[in-house]
Subunit: 330 residues, 2 copies
DNA sequence: CTGAAAGCGCTAACAC
DNA sequence: GTGTTAGCGCTTTCAG
């Protein structure tokens, strides 16, 4: 691996000049040309580790997400990757698996590696970010808020819940249930709250709290909750699933029970990206996952570049794709 | 950020001793205790950048994949992440989007950052890995082979193609088509070759090459190819999709055309992880994506730890989940 | 505009 | 077993 010293020797200049050429610091045109030629000749690539050590700042950002296998976070990652890459940053993928312990470990690594910043979708809403903050490493929260006052890119989760539940009401369903993620995840709670505000005023026969089920934000979570709901008497006639994976689980169980929409109303918050048999009768509240990633990455890079404005919160809009069929007449 | 010098001063030892404690080099019990106490007190974390510079080796591995949004690669990434994390390595995610240019850039970064190694699922089978090899950075190829003689973790793609086509033949279909990815991707070609070997002997009425369609390894690619196939006269009565996303696209088009399996035979190579309405009548050739990731990561870490055996190739088995229904009687 | 020189924080000889 | 010391490759004052 060639170093700036070898390039300097080959070009007949000092190492400092080589460094300047590679950092956009003004250098006379001739010397710059000499340096570039020598660098090309020697196949020189600046050693980023040395640069990071010296500058105390690596061109790397950490993306900390709870579930790399969820297409929602995958799209988000894709968005982050795209803008980071364009800005010359690499992204380190940190999959926490909703485990605060793993999350803490990754946050420590971000510090130890002098990473330029972190984009964080928190596992449990209790992460200790004081280490990063003390070292003034920019952080932007995405999807989920944190205990700290930080830049964040979120959705109007309550509104998404309202939208999902409303379309079901409008379609004529009467006993609308909700399956949501763990109560300590704010998105789970807020979306359920949106659902609650709608069903509260359209008086379901059964106590509506019985129709609210907490489970994991995964396919199995959706399956378990849906099965429990179906066993109720009276069973609901529709359900709001507050994330994509739970929606998949719920639809699977319903399909197994022969209660495919619109026989049973379904509204899902989040996209169902790889569905094969398109469930026309399902309402989808589309979430701009990729946009969240690109927005968060842009905000982060601004901070890295020295922006010191007060923390901003960006709320991105969802989009309702309503079902094409309503409830069957009773 | 505390440094080893501060810890050393606080503990009354030399910086070298502090370093030793943190690197498992024998140190007397008392001094070790002193060091640990001081380190905890100062909230010291070793600076990985400095360590990397000195050792010329970062505890980071690059995972270079063509499509982060494909659940197949996502599972693979998950597998890599799990074992890397357990072994103390971080993983940098490099999404090449099937673009050799981006791929080359990431490979350069792996060098510039002194990364410990790379796991590579190649974009086009032509990557220049000489830079990495010259610097003796271990590489393991995954999913797709490379031009170089490297450790690799692959599937028996031809056998997967054979299995997919055979179940369709056995189920009674007679005009079996195949939609596959770009010809320059070896997995696409090998799987199609498996299909070809089966249809060749069961004499389809139409020229079988007309029934072979190349397109992109994505949902749209599957859709386009499937539509083209359906427009043929005679149209096929079954299809092998050589990857998961193409399978999704094909099933979507078939569903829109009202030709849901088993009315039209479908065999997909790769899992359909988030299907809602379970397509019982579809044959799935399951691919061990996550295992490929864990296997590749383990092999890579062995190499990083100094293993110098000749290059190995591990072929992981697929699993056929046959459709529950055959072709409708003609 | 350019060069000399001092480190960034750590590890690894090398002495003792 | 422990301390001293010389860098890893780069950036960045500081002079000139």
């Amino acid at each position: 691996m060639a170093t700036i010293y070898e390039v300097a020797a080959a070009a007949g200049v000092s190492p400092a000049t080589v460094s300047r050429v590679f950092n956009g610091v003004p250098v006379s045109a001739e010397k710059a040309a000499l340096v570039r030629a020598a660098a090309a000749e020697l196949r020189f690539t600046p050693n980023r580790t040395a640069r990071s050590l010296r500058r105390k700042n690596a061109e790397v950002i950490a993306l900390v997400i709870p579930d790399i296998e969820n297409p929602y976070f995958t799209s988000l990652a894709r968005g982050v990757e795209d803008v980071a890459q364009a800005a010359g940053y690499s992204v380190v993928l940190c999959n926490t698996d909703e485990d605060p312990g793993k999350e803490a470990k990754y946050l420590d690594i971000a510090i130890a590696e002098n990473m330029a910043g972190v984009i964080l979708a928190e596992a449990d809403g209790r992460a200790d970010l004081s280490g990063l903050i003390a070292r003034s490493r920019p952080i932007v929260a995405v999807d989920r808020r944190t205990l700290f006052e930080l830049d964040s890119v979120v959705l109007d989760n309550r509104a998404a819940g309202v939208a999902a539940a409303s379309t079901l009401v409008d379609a004529g369903y009467r006993r609308i249930a909700c399956i949501t993620g763990p109560a300590e995840i704010d998105t789970a709670e807020e979306r359920a709250e949106g659902w609650r505000s709608i069903v509260a005023r359209s008086a379901t026969p059964h106590g509506s709290e019985d129709y609210l089920r907490y489970s994991s934000f995964r396919v199995d979570g959706g399956r378990d909750a849906m099965r429990a709901l179906l066993a109720l008497d009276p069973a609901p006639d529709a359900v709001v699933a507050t994330n994509n994976l739970m929606g998949v689980g719920a639809l699977q169980v319903l399909s197994e029970a022969g209660r495919v929409p619109p026989a049973f109303g379904v509204a899902v918050i989040g996209d169902l990206p790889f569905t094969t048999l398109t469930p026309d009768a399902t309402t989808i509240v589309r979430l701009p996952a990729r946009d969240m990633g690109t927005t968060a990455a842009r905000m982060l890079i601004e901070r890295i570049n020295g922006d010191t404005e007060p923390a901003r919160t960006v709320v991105l809009p969802h989009e309702v794709v309503a079902a094409t069929a309503g409830a069957p007449a009773v």
